[in-house]
């Protein structure tokens, strides 16, 4: 028996693709959302924060269930996507992405929010007096200064998408090559009492993730300016 079956490999690739896409989408959505939460004086602030954290309190498969209902042709999302001529999203890769984004949003928004909040206004003011416009300031001041927050966000978002399976199982329908990710694959092996395969795949995930995470954390390691007195 080879180490991985073709299906396992397919699942691994799909997982990486899904997690990468989802992480990018999460950062792209999460950053402006976090920014808004930091700077708004709106009375809705607490409410929106709570709303973002909400996916956490429902079991993933239940979230998946409701997303499934929403994505059905007569559900709100399904209605909308059908109008757009996209068909329904359930059991498709984009559907998986959408579901994973909803589910992992809090893990991304929270750390970015806290990191930006902790910066205070001073660096932004300084950047403005040095002629840096908003985008310039964001990329050259906020991003590097809040880097630990962004790294945490990316790590939590990526890892959570990799490990998440309740939502994926529900929305994805476990279709090989389209929606059958590694977590589902491992689950399947366990369910089929094929422990050998489950162990191998789990171990692979663990070692791979350890390497990726450790590398990520080394990037985010405090540089000289953190090591000494501040």
């Amino acid at each position: 028996m080879e180490l991985f079956s073709t299906e396992d490999l397919q699942a691994i690739l799909l997982t990486l693709k899904l997690a990468t896409v989802v992480t990018c989408v999460l950062i792209i959505i999460g950053t402006p959302l976090a920014w808004w939460l930091v700077n708004t004086q709106s009375r809705w602030k607490s409410f929106v924060s709570a709303l973002v954290a909400l996916p956490l309190v429902l079991p993933p498969s239940v979230i998946g269930f409701y997303l499934l209902l929403a994505m059905a042709p007569d559900g709100p999302i399904g209605h909308f996507t059908t109008q757009l001529g996209l068909g329904t999203l359930a059991f498709t890769f984009p559907g998986l992405v959408l579901a994973s984004v909803v589910y992992s949003l809090p893990f991304v928004v929270q750390p970015i929010h806290n990191a930006i909040d902790a910066l205070g206004k001073r660096p932004l003011e300084v950047a403005a007096t040095l002629r840096a416009g908003p985008w310039d300031t964001f990329f050259n001041v906020v991003l590097p200064l809040a880097a630990p927050g962004f790294i945490t966000a990316a790590v939590l978002g990526f890892a959570h998408t990799v490990g998440e399976f309740g939502v994926v199982l529900m929305i994805g329908g476990n279709i090989p090559g389209v929606t059958r990710v590694v977590s589902v694959q491992i689950y399947d092996h366990v369910e089929a009492l094929d422990y050998g395969r489950a162990h191998i795949l789990s171990l692979t995930m663990i070692i791979f993730s350890l390497l990726v995470l450790a590398a990520l954390y080394s990037i985010g390691k405090p540089s000289a300016h953190k090591l000494s007195r501040s």
């Binding site: 300084v126 007096t129 840096a132 007195r229």
Partner: protein
């Protein structure tokens, strides 16, 4: 219009800032005032860092703020030195400077990297991070950074407070030079009378959020009712031409309206104008001229007016030397003994050493 127009009204708890003034858009305007009088707030408002509804801010021909219009800070051609440490912690000193240089107004690269780094003595520190610099070092990097953005208006909030005398005395003339040669107007907040004397062309005195006095330095300083307690630093500032240099004794002679004064040679060429400061505490009065003392400047003067100083035992005496005015501080006892009264003539004795560049 060529000035800096500021009109604003800001209420913050029990602090109320109310300004309606026009500052000259050339030379150095010094904002002077007690701690908490609103200096920083005024500077921030001018830069656009403080959002004050209804304020009008105008710099030369550009409206920076008026009604709905608000030019964002990053589109205002200014340099700003913050009162407190403001270096980007994630960038080395060099990268902090580069941050400014990259975004500088390329059309007016008048301030040179090499020169400014050299002058501020930060050449050896460029690879350090802010956390590895001393307080004064950080401040010097911040000054260099504000200059390297090639501003058209320089706003500085107590930039030299954390520096030692020697360093201050090196930087002040440079700022002076910038002002002259680059035609770079500055608004400069300071507590230090020395810096006022050295740099100011125009003085604004803030108290509890209001301007209590403003005007050209020479006029403002010699007014005896001048509402700030300059204390030990009361005095006059004169602008005058160097007429002679005595290399042997290391002295230069300047011509003022009432005669001439010797002061220590600062390398200024004959024919150039210098600014000299005569502290009231360094001027004494004598009925007759004495040449057996070490005081080498003795000049006839007429008493214009007298005013009690903030200490009972002392008087400030305003003296006319032809067109110029200087101030002497003498003890009330001496005033009495020498019968100092308006209209009387005395010899004003000025120690040569008391003249600042």
């Amino acid at each position: 219009m060529t000035g800096i127009g500021i009109k604003l009204d800001l209420q913050r708890k029990d602090f109320h800032l109310r300004i309606n003034t026009t500052l000259p858009a050339k030379g150095v305007t010094v904002i002077y005032g007690h701690s908490g009088s609103g200096k920083t707030t005024l500077l921030r408002a001018l830069a656009g860092l403080e959002n004050i509804p209804g304020a009008d801010i105008q710099f030369q021909d550009s409206l920076w703020q008026k009604a709905q219009q608000f030019v964002p800070v990053h589109n205002r051609p200014l340099g700003y030195v913050f009162q407190e440490s403001s270096l980007f912690e994630h960038l080395s000193a060099r990268k902090n400077l580069l941050f400014a240089q990259k975004r500088a107004d390329k059309s007016r690269c008048k301030i040179d990297w090499e020169q400014i780094v050299e002058l501020l003595g930060i050449g050896d520190l460029l690879d350090r991070f802010p956390a590895q610099l001393s307080g004064g070092e950080r401040q010097r990097v911040a000054i260099a950074r504000a200059l390297l953005v090639q501003p058209k208006l320089l706003l500085m909030d107590e930039p030299l407070a954390s520096l030692d005398q020697a360093r201050k005395r090196e930087i002040l003339p440079y700022l002076d030079k910038l002002k002259r040669e680059l035609d770079l107007p500055m608004v400069y907040v300071t507590h230090s009378p020395e810096e006022v004397a050295h740099l100011a062309d125009y003085l604004v005195v803030l108290d509890k959020g209001e301007i209590v006095a403003s005007g050209n330095l020479a006029e403002t300083l010699t007014r005896l009712d001048f509402p700030i307690h300059l204390g030990e630093e009361a005095g006059a500032v004169l602008e005058a031409k160097v007429v002679e240099r005595d290399a042997h004794w290391g002295l230069s002679k300047i011509e003022i309206s009432g005669g001439h004064l010797w002061f220590r040679d600062n390398g200024i060429a004959v024919g150039e104008y210098v600014r000299i400061r005569i502290f009231a505490r360094d001027v004494s009065l004598a009925v007759t001229p004495h040449d057996d003392t070490s005081i080498i400047n003795s000049i006839p003067a007429t008493v214009l007016e007298l005013e009690a100083d903030n200490h009972k035992g002392l008087m400030l005496v305003r003296l006319q030397l032809n067109d110029d005015i200087i101030v002497a501080r003498v003890s009330t006892l001496s005033c009495h003994k020498l019968n100092v009264e308006p209209g009387k003539r005395f010899w004003a004795q000025i120690k040569s050493v008391a003249i600042v560049q």
